[in-house]
């Protein structure tokens, strides 16, 4: 098991970073974080035409690049650093993995090429809405002529309001769970972009009322494969968070090395230096965890879920900590709207609870603990 990027991987990172530095800036973030926006067709197209990023984990047979999670991790880290707003986690990670894992061969042939070239933008609606007035609500699939009808509310669906391929998890009357394709123009489908504290990544609520759907693969006991899909997405997210955390640290360090107070660069004060040293350690630990988790996926290790939980909780805390300290080191200016730091802070805060908060992942990690990691 190697923790070090190969020269090829390092070159790949350089290519991705250069592309994002050229093509995406916080000016784009500010434009795309407006209500209901979320992504830019032109940029999404270029990302896929020039670098084929949407197809990273899709096998070459289906038009993808056939890479593993090590490479996906590199992409996610760079996207986290640049705070890319694009349906990447939703489509290239979650939806692509769902079709790969749950779909029939026909599903793969139909859907993967579109996901790989970015013409299909998928989303995976796995979480049921659970508000105070509707606790434990379950989305149901009922057999109907020529397919099934879905009823229920799915919540926190990443890019759910803009996706043109909707994959919805639902349960049939006999208790089997399945994953269903829903057309983005289906009747009975209501899609609402949620107001969240992180406008840089959009989440939607899908309300389904007798929505016609077709099954992806065969319904059955999907708990375990679905969990594995979410675990893999969690690892991808952890990489994104590590990239964001590093960006925050170096942004703080850069500022501290140019800002003077009391006749000195503030970066020469131990209060600032030691904060940054602690952050670096925390981020390095989280990065090791993210790399380790990617290796576990690529090697099909039995500890993949365990390492995913470790990666998620360490990345969550490192990112939030780095973003908060980045504001602190910038002082008042770091708290203003016009300064960019809050954009990452908001992404960090939202990512912290996405796919489970740190304490739930810590508890799961201990339950799964194994000396094999």
């Amino acid at each position: 098991m190697s923790f070090v990027l190969t020269d090829e991987q390092q070159q790949f990172r350089d290519v991705v970073r250069r592309f994002l530095d050229d093509q995406f800036s916080t000016r784009d973030v500010r434009r795309l974080m407006e209500p209901r926006a979320g992504f830019d067709e032109a940029f999404w197209g270029k990302l896929n035409r020039d670098l084929g990023l949407a197809g990273i984990i899709i096998p070459e047979d289906y038009g993808g690049q056939g890479f593993g999670y090590a490479e996906l991790g590199i992409v996610m880290e760079e996207m986290g650093r640049s705070l890319v707003c694009a349906p990447y986690l939703s489509s290239a990670v979650l939806a692509a993995d769902a079709v790969l894992t749950l779909g029939s061969e026909a599903d793969r042939e139909t859907l993967l090429p579109g996901l790989a070239d970015g013409s299909l933008r998928g989303c995976l609606a796995s979480q049921d809405y659970s508000g105070p007035e509707c606790p434990g609500g379950v989305t149901t699939a009922t057999a109907a002529q020529g397919g099934v009808r879905l009823n229920g509310i799915k919540d926190f669906v990443i890019d759910g309001h803009t996706a043109n391929l909707l994959l919805v998890v639902a349960r049939s009357a006999d208790g089997e769970s399945g994953c269903y394709r829903v057309s983005d123009t289906a009747s009975g489908l209501d899609r609402r972009c949620l107001t969240t504290l992180d406008p840089t990544r959009k989440l939607a609520r899908l309300t389904l009322t007798d929505v016609p759907a077709v099954s992806l693969g065969t319904p059955g006991s999907l708990e375990s494969p679905l969990q594995a899909i979410l675990d893999r997405a969690t690892v991808a997210l952890a990489h994104e968070m590590v990239g964001g955390a590093e960006k925050m640290l170096y942004s703080a360090v850069d500022y501290a090395c140019t800002r003077r107070q009391f006749g000195r660069l503030i970066g020469s004060f131990q209060a600032i230096k030691h904060k940054c040293a602690d952050l670096l350690l925390e981020i390095e630990l989280a990065k090791s965890a993210a790399y380790r988790a990617a290796v576990a996926i690529d090697q099909h290790e039995t500890v993949a879920s365990l390492t995913a939980s470790i990666a998620k909780c360490t990345a969550s805390e490192a990112y939030l900590h780095a973003a908060a300290e980045c504001i602190q080191i910038h002082g008042g200016i770091g708290f203003t709207w016009d300064h960019d730091t809050h954009l990452w802070f908001k992404r960090a805060k939202a990512s912290e609870v996405m796919f489970g908060d740190p304490s739930s992942h810590r508890a799961r990690a201990l339950a799964l603990w194994s000396d094999a990691i």
Partner: protein
């Protein structure tokens, strides 16, 4: 020595004779200022009655009992008043104090600059004397209420050839003049409660210097000490008497204007009050992990409150006001930071939701996006730790890198 009962009788009689809810707010407050009952702790010569601090609560009680409106007491105006009382000339006191109390004038504080945040004494906004008046050029920032203030308390550099603390001068600046431009500054939580203020050949008459030229830092210290002590009257100013009548409406409007920029301050402080109710409502008190964190937060907030009370009690007994303000401020940062964590732990992914979708009308999300200001505004945690270690624990200062003529000090 005056007793509590004597004061109570005296104020009650005066109110019986004079309180009239049908007066206009300014008319009533003018009467009040002249009587000395509006700020009984101030000197008799300046609208007060020289009453010891221990006896002023009696006056407040009687005003409350009579539903009588008091003088204007919120916002930067009270810092201006305290500073002028201590350092102002008689002419300045005459010109400003009464209108502060009647609420006719509002004030703002012009200390921080883009290049001097933690290092306030590094201000580079300049005041140059043209033989007759001071000409102001430069930029200030983090100025609450600058957009409607009548006057500003301005710290400006008048001498570049002496060490930095000795070249500053404190002046009262007329905000309603050409050469003063005010721009709003939006924060990461969406509110816009501060301003940037730009000066281009703005003018300050020679007699508007507070203290001596070059003595501005000492005067600013007075303003800041009152600010840390909470003399800006922001605590509890949101209570609404609910009384009906034009004078009450006028008072409410006046307070609403002053308080508008502070609407998000409770969220900035972490809204500890929301923790137990939301945890109960969501059944989180059954989770031992949440219980630990909630307890940690409530205990921190409560012990900080007790510590502040202990400091106030010590002051009330005549012991000197120390730098407890810095301890309290550091505690407040801890409380706010921990509160953000606890709210997230309680809410889970619901913490993400903001605005109308959000928990407690979006207040939780607003807390999460507001608390980062707590450890910065009014002096960063790092500055507070310097103050505590140097002034309470008497630890040595760091070697200075900003001595000598300010002109030669490395700066941004």
């Amino acid at each position: 020595m005056t007793t509590q009962d004597e004061v109570r009788r005296e104020v009650r009689e005066w109110l019986q004779a004079n309180w009239n809810p049908d007066l206009s707010l300014v008319a009533w407050r003018t009467l009040l200022a002249e009587s000395g009952w509006g700020v009984p702790g101030w000197p008799r010569q300046w609208y007060g009655r020289d009453l010891p601090a221990a006896l002023t609560p009696v006056v407040d009680e009687e005003f409350a009992a009579a539903n009588a409106v008091g003088v204007a007491k919120t916002g930067i105006r009270m810092l201006a008043a305290a500073t002028l009382l201590e350092h102002g000339s008689d002419d300045q006191k005459k010109a400003f104090l009464k209108r502060i109390l009647t609420g006719e004038d509002t004030w703002c504080q012009l200390f921080s600059e883009p290049g001097s945040g933690s290092d306030l004494a590094g201000a580079t906004t300049r005041a140059d004397f043209d033989g007759e008046r001071w000409i102001i050029n430069g930029q200030k920032v983090w100025t609450t209420s600058a957009h409607h203030a009548d006057y500003g308390l301005l710290l400006a550099r008048t001498d570049w050839d002496v060490p930095k603390h000795q070249g500053l001068t404190y002046v009262v600046l007329d905000m309603k003049q050409q050469g003063v431009e005010v721009h709003q500054l939006k924060q990461m939580n969406g509110h816009a409660s501060f301003n940037q203020v730009f000066f281009t050949d703005a003018v300050v008459p020679a007699d508007r210097i507070v203290g001596q030229p070059g003595g501005g830092w000492q005067v600013a210290m007075t303003t800041l000490a009152h600010e840390r002590r909470g003399a800006d009257g922001l605590r509890g100013a949101n209570r609404d008497s609910g009384l009906k009548g034009s004078i009450y409406d006028e008072e409410r409007a006046e307070i609403a204007t002053v308080m508008a920029p502070y609407k998000w301050y409770p969220q900035r402080a972490g809204r500890v009050d929301l923790v137990l109710p939301t945890a109960k409502a969501l059944g989180r008190l059954n989770d031992p992990v949440a219980v630990q964190e909630i307890a940690r937060l409530l205990i921190l907030a409560k012990t900080a409150e007790w510590t502040a009370r202990r400091a106030r009690a010590a002051q009330a007994e005549g012991r000197p006001q120390g730098p407890e303000g810095s301890l309290g401020k550091l505690a407040a940062s801890e409380v706010a930071r921990l509160a953000a964590r606890v709210h997230t732990l309680i809410q889970g992914d619901q913490a993400l939701l903001a605005g109308d979708d959000g928990a407690v009308d979006g207040m939780i999300a607003e807390v999460l996006l507001s608390v980062p200001a707590t450890s910065i505004a009014g002096g960063t945690d790092e500055i507070q730790r310097n103050i505590i270690s140097e002034r309470v624990l008497s630890m040595p200062r760091e070697p200075r890198a900003d001595g000598g003529p300010f002109r030669e000090v490395p700066r941004n």
